[in-house]
């Protein structure tokens, strides 16, 4: 009887599993072993690290793994870990923080996934406490995308780039310069506008003058966590400062420092009527549409908004991203609401529902209470159902501006 010979050749999948296991073990061992620059004395400075809020809060949920990832948080952790190994101390530059610092590192990350590789590129600036830019450059690193499923892959990738940045000879030399040793600042005293990337606005919105001192009402989510807010009227652009903000109401007032010739008055005396005709003015889709105001018309379609909301009503005049903060006015130009949102349709489309023109405005009653609480001057006008010949657009348009948020 012939004996059948055969070779024991492992199936290719076995090699792949063993390869992945080896990669995991080597990656984790390397991660554990290499966390500090060793031996060198620390730089006797306190470093503040700035990461734009839009990048810090970025989240990624991978359903197959039932896990959420926070690349921004991973970057912050990596930046602090490397910084604390090199500097006397390092902290995140947070609004309202009273911790003094000598130098600031501003980080602008960009995550780019192409084919099977994910690249992290960070544009960075090192500034002294007076806001002078000492070093400005970029650094990047990449990782095979499938490895992102490994715990802390975002941290590992960030760690590599942060080591390149913070160990850069020019950065080390400038941060160690004795000339900046005595300079200190805090989050409150430091002009954070110097940290932002002016290449492209992080978001845009709409606002309108509420008094002749140049104060502008908008939605809080347009200007929240924006170190630099700019007001754009026609070809003219001016920097604005935050005066008051309520994240709860989604309202904010900024000061343009420019006297206003036209303001939008709040209606007093009576509430809006269900079905009342309204006009909405805004600057939507910045960068896509021409920089010209959009005027849309509709009516008050409901006294209520989404289930669980408070202080909002529903209107049908079309709005787009960038319309937030725009005025919702009556046919005679009286403010009856401020645009704060629209119904998100992604989830509804998956259920076979396509909602149309379901938009939300904050009732002017709450706008008035907000301004009373923050001692902001505003103009009021009694409800007038008889137009004086001018349209709502003619009355309101000159008082409406575009707002740009830079982080």
């Amino acid at each position: 009887m012939a004996r059948m010979d055969y070779k024991r050749v492992p199936h290719p999948i076995v090699w792949r599993v063993l390869g992945l296991a080896a990669a995991l073990l080597s990656a984790t061992a390397a991660d554990a072993a290499d966390t500090s620059p060793k031996q060198k004395p620390k730089i006797d400075r306190v470093l503040a690290v700035y990461v734009p809020q839009k990048d810090s809060d970025s989240r990624l949920f991978i359903a197959q793994l039932n896990n959420s990832f926070a690349p921004g948080k991973a970057l912050e952790d990596a930046a602090l870990d490397v910084s604390r190994a090199l500097y006397r101390d390092a902290n995140l530059l947070l609004t309202g923080s009273s911790t003094p610092f000598n130098v600031v590192l501003s980080l602008h990350p960009k995550w780019d996934t192409k084919d099977r590789n994910t690249t992290l590129t960070i544009h960075y600036k090192l500034l002294d406490a007076a806001g002078n830019v000492l070093v400005e450059s970029s650094a990047s690193n990449d990782m095979a995308t499938p490895k992102l499923i490994v715990n802390n892959a975002f941290y590992a990738l960030s760690l590599g780039v942060m080591k390149d940045i913070l160990r850069d000879e020019q950065v080390l030399a400038k941060a160690s310069d004795p000339a900046i040793a005595g300079q200190t600042a805090t989050a409150a005293s430091f002009d954070r506008a110097a940290l932002v990337s002016r290449e492209k606005s992080a978001r845009s919105g709409t606002g309108f003058f509420i008094n002749d001192h140049g104060q502008i009402m908008t939605a809080a989510h347009v200007v929240h966590d924006c170190p630099l807010v700019q007001i754009k009227t026609g070809e003219k652009t001016v920097d604005a400062k935050l005066v008051a903000e309520s994240v709860l109401l989604d309202l904010a007032v900024v000061d343009s420092g420019v006297a206003a010739a036209h303001v939008v008055p709040l209606r007093v005396g009576t509430a809006y009527e269900l079905g009342e005709e309204v006009t909405n003015i805004g600057y939507p889709l910045d960068g896509l549409l021409a920089a010209s105001p959009n005027v849309t018309r509709g009516n008050v379609s409901s006294r209520g908004a989404l289930a669980g909301s408070a202080g909002q009503f529903q209107f049908s005049a079309p709005v787009q991203p960038g319309s937030s903060g725009g005025p919702v006015v009556s046919s005679t130009g009286e403010l009856i609401g401020v645009t704060v949102g629209t119904l998100g349709i992604n989830g509804l489309i998956q259920q076979g529902v396509l909602p149309q023109n379901v938009n939300f405005a904050l009732d002017a009653r709450y706008v008035a209470r907000f301004m009373d609480r923050n001692n902001v001057l505003y103009l009021t006008v009694a409800a007038n159902r008889k137009p004086d010949g001018r349209s709502a657009t003619e009355i309101t348009l000159p008082a409406v501006v575009q707002l740009l948020c830079y982080q």
Partner: protein, 192 residues
């Protein structure tokens, strides 16, 4: 069996933790406004633990318009040794066709955030190293945390309620909410 042990643990620990919670002693008038709830892990367990606290009586999963969101997320932290031992354990378990149990060890961080109109304003983090021994053929109802891990996650919900009740920023938020939305105040200011 493990489920039974978990239930026993929860029944023993829950009343103790509840009595320690400062939030549960709050006056009814201090009840929080309507809030949405979302969690990436142990959704029902955390929701039930929070709802058991008087402060969170108005917590709801189905109010998309609420300005305030309680967002719970979880992060598995770096633990170099555990990655290697988990892998070795899994290889042994698979190699024995499931006769040997597998083991996993994770540094788990639970993040509780109060998010107002999309902006996180308050955050608490609770961390623990979680060890879970399991059979690869058995159905796991503990979200991969094991019975002890599930009990700990539920405890973090109670701890969060207690911490939030003492938080000055949240107290400001609650005052602001009542300033704007207290029915009497709104009526007096309405289109005066």
């Amino acid at each position: 069996m493990r489920t039974a042990i978990a239930v026993l643990f929860m029944s023993l620990l829950a009343p103790v933790a509840h009595s320690q919670s400062a939030a549960s002693d709050a006056a009814p008038s201090a009840a929080l406004p309507a809030m949405r709830f979302a969690a990436t892990i142990c959704n029902d367990e955390i929701y039930d633990a929070l709802k058991g606290n008087q402060l969170f009586a108005s917590l709801d999963k189905t109010t998309p318009g609420s300005a305030i969101l309680i967002r719970v997320s979880h992060i598995y932290g770096r633990n170099s040794a555990s990655t290697a031992s988990d892998l070795a354990s899994l290889i042994f378990a698979v190699g024995s066709l499931g006769l040997l149990p597998a083991m996993s060890n994770k540094d788990l961080t639970m993040v509780y955030e109060v998010v107002v109109n999309g902006s996180p304003v308050i955050a608490y983090k609770y961390s623990k190293s979680i060890t879970h021994v399991f059979n690869i053929h058995a159905t796991d109802k503990s979200h991969g945390l094991g019975a002890d891990g599930l009990v700990w996650v539920t405890e973090t919900a109670r701890q969060f309620a207690a911490d939030l009740a003492q938080n000055a920023r949240f107290d400001e938020l609650r005052s602001e909410y009542h300033y704007y939305f207290d029915p009497a105040a709104v009526a007096s200011a309405a289109y005066r």
